[in-house]
């Protein structure tokens, strides 16, 4: 009866995790039904009136909400594209670098921002991006008049996209660097004997070598196109740039928690959750099919 006591041990081990998973992930799912109510905290879930799909119909009618969907997808997609391009370029260049000490120093510098919070980085960026900040000084050298970056709706999304690339490109490159080190070195030696130059080796060996990783990252990132980066935008935006900078998560926070329209906030959140789940499902399917990826 060894087996039974073993099983008992396994159940005992997993119990705390299951309880917490239930309490903090599945109970909130139950609370999501207030998306179909006109929820009033004083009345609770039992007492609040049911309104069917009214909250969802409301979301589709309001122009704000549609704009917010658009902003979210635009920022998220541009982030993914530019971040991966920057990371791939950086990884390819770093791979060409022969001075090991320089290589290590560069890596130490570019990985650091990944580990700092957006609160800290936004505090820093607000100073850099001010009228008399570092970036305007630099643009001044090029003869460009000072820009108030954080107050310009046309500039703001790009500021979000590019500052995210700045924070993450180094760290994102680690995946590609790993893929590059896994390439068989004899391939390069043979190419050398055939008279290939540096660029040809990169084009015909390095890039095909990391192609599976690129496909994998592209597939998996599909699941994130409704996540445009709450922490970052929340700490950098202001009412002046809501028209282009407001995203689903910031909208839900303001409408749902600040204005206290719990049901509307929940409905937007639920819509996002359902669409995200479908996208993540598709992205895992893609990743499994084209890059042979399984999470477990």
């Amino acid at each position: 009866m060894r087996k039974n006591s073993d099983r008992f041990s396994y159940y005992a081990m997993i119990l705390p995790g299951l309880v917490l998973l239930f309490a903090f992930t599945f109970v909130p799912l139950f609370y999501s039904i207030i998306a179909f109510q006109k929820f009033n905290p004083a009345l609770g879930i039992q007492g609040s009136p049911w309104v069917g799909l009214d909250n969802f119909l409301y979301i589709f009618r309001v122009r704000d909400a549609r704009q917010v969907f658009y902003n979210t997808i635009f920022i998220a997609v541009m982030k993914i594209v530019l971040l991966e391009l920057a990371a791939i370029t950086f990884a390819l260049l770093l791979n060409e670098l022969r001075y090991l000490r320089v290589k290590r120093a560069v890596q130490t510098m570019v990985y650091l921002p990944h580990f700092l919070s957006w609160v800290i980085l936004a505090g820093i960026l607000r100073t850099i991006l001010a009228r008399n900040g570092l970036l305007n000084d630099f643009l001044g050298l090029l003869g460009i008049a000072p820009v108030y970056f954080l107050g310009r709706p046309d500039v703001f999304p790009w500021l979000i996209i590019l500052s995210d690339v700045w924070k993450e490109f180094g760290f994102e490159a680690i995946l590609y660097l790993a893929a590059l080190t896994a390439i068989d070195p004899t391939l390069y030696e043979v190419a050398e004997l055939d008279g290939a130059n540096r660029f040809q080796k990169m084009w015909y060996i390095s890039i095909p070598g990391i192609l599976p990783t690129i496909v994998l990252v592209a597939s998996l990132s599909l699941g994130g196109i409704l996540n445009a980066g709450f922490d970052q935008i929340f700490n950098l935006y202001s009412p002046i740039v809501y028209s282009t900078g407001d995203i689903l998560d910031t909208y839900v926070y303001r409408v749902g928690l600040i204005q206290g329209q719990y049901s509307i906030g929940t409905a937007v959140g639920l819509l996002k959750t359902v669409v995200s789940l479908i996208l993540i499902g598709i992205s895992y399917w893609f990743a499994g099919k084209f890059a042979n990826y399984r999470i477990f």
Binding site: G17, L21, T25, V119, I120, G123, I124, T127, A178, T266
Partner: protein
């Protein structure tokens, strides 16, 4: 001909090295600018004169922070959440990953549980129901609100589960023959073998706990319970004056910009301190995530 090709090659090497070094340094320029501002005098800062080197070097801002009770209270709360949250993440990752790494035969229901956790990970219900749940448990203004909701680090569980499954079965069987039960197996075989993986995921949870501000913002009603990132967010980003107690007399000597820069920098120090360890482990950590079967 051969020589000139080599020279050309070397020039390209130098150019790449120079470009990447410049890129690396420019990545850090914003941080250097903040450090310089925190060490400069008021007039120079408000005049926008401070770039990469302090103007009118002084430590007034740091001196002020040292005596700032509210800052250190928030710092203490952050340390507490890192310790509590880190320990919970560590313990629960191991306890959850180990049974999930067993075969369906040894642990019936294993596959269902794995799917439950994966589903829980990708399911993100939105902050309103999340908030209502935690408020419903009466956790508002409690430190547990900052550590319990994320206590099971599901992504880490999956990484660790995959890692456990890659440990040679022979070790397992040998211990079995010696009569080890699952707890002994975990303690004597699996934990010692997976120390690097555990170090990696623990460092990542520490960084995550130190950096998070949003849960503190919505789950703490009393600003005295804010962790450091939330405190800084309110002070520097939202510019809430409620938090600046008795600062008026100091403003003559100190600009807000200087003080804020110094606070940002002090909040960065713990991350800078563990950064060398992080760097040693995170490459391996990322690879762990990619491990299959």
């Amino acid at each position: 001909m051969v020589y000139s090709k080599r020279l050309q090659d070397r020039i390209v090497d130098w150019l790449i090295a120079a470009f990447l070094l410049a890129l690396g340094i420019s990545t850090l320029l914003p941080l250097i600018n903040t450090l310089a501002i925190s060490l400069s005098e008021r007039a120079a800062v408000s005049g926008g004169m401070v770039k990469l080197w302090p103007v009118g070097f002084n430590l007034t801002a740091y001196d002020y922070i040292l005596k700032d009770v509210k800052f250190w209270r928030a710092f203490g709360i952050s340390v507490l959440r890192v310790v509590l949250g880190g320990l919970l993440n560590f313990g629960l990752a191991i306890l959850t990953a180990f049974p999930l790494s067993r075969s369906e035969k040894a642990f019936p229901g294993r596959t269902v549980f794995v799917w439950l956790f994966v589903f829980g990970m990708i399911l993100n219900v939105g902050i309103v129901p999340w908030y209502l749940t935690i408020a419903g448990y009466g956790l508002i203004d409690s430190i547990w609100a900052l550590v319990l909701p994320g206590a099971v680090p599901i992504w880490n569980v999956i990484i660790l589960m995959n890692f456990f499954r890659n440990i040679p079965k022979e070790l397992d069987e040998a211990a079995r023959i010696d009569g080890a039960n699952p707890w002994q197996l975990l303690w004597h075989i699996y934990l010692p073998t997976s120390l690097p993986a555990l170090a990696t995921i623990t460092l990542f949870s520490i960084v995550g706990h130190w950096n998070s501000f949003f849960d503190g913002l919505i789950l703490m009603n009393n600003p005295d319970n804010y962790p450091l990132q939330t405190y800084i967010q309110q002070l520097v980003i939202a510019d809430r004056p409620i938090l600046h107690g008795g600062q008026a007399q100091l403003m003559a000597k100190l600009s807000n910009a200087t003080l804020n820069a110094a606070k940002l920098f002090v909040a960065m120090i713990p991350i800078l301190m563990i950064y060398p360890f992080l760097q040693r482990y995170f490459v391996r950590g990322i690879m762990l995530g990619a491990v299959k079967e």
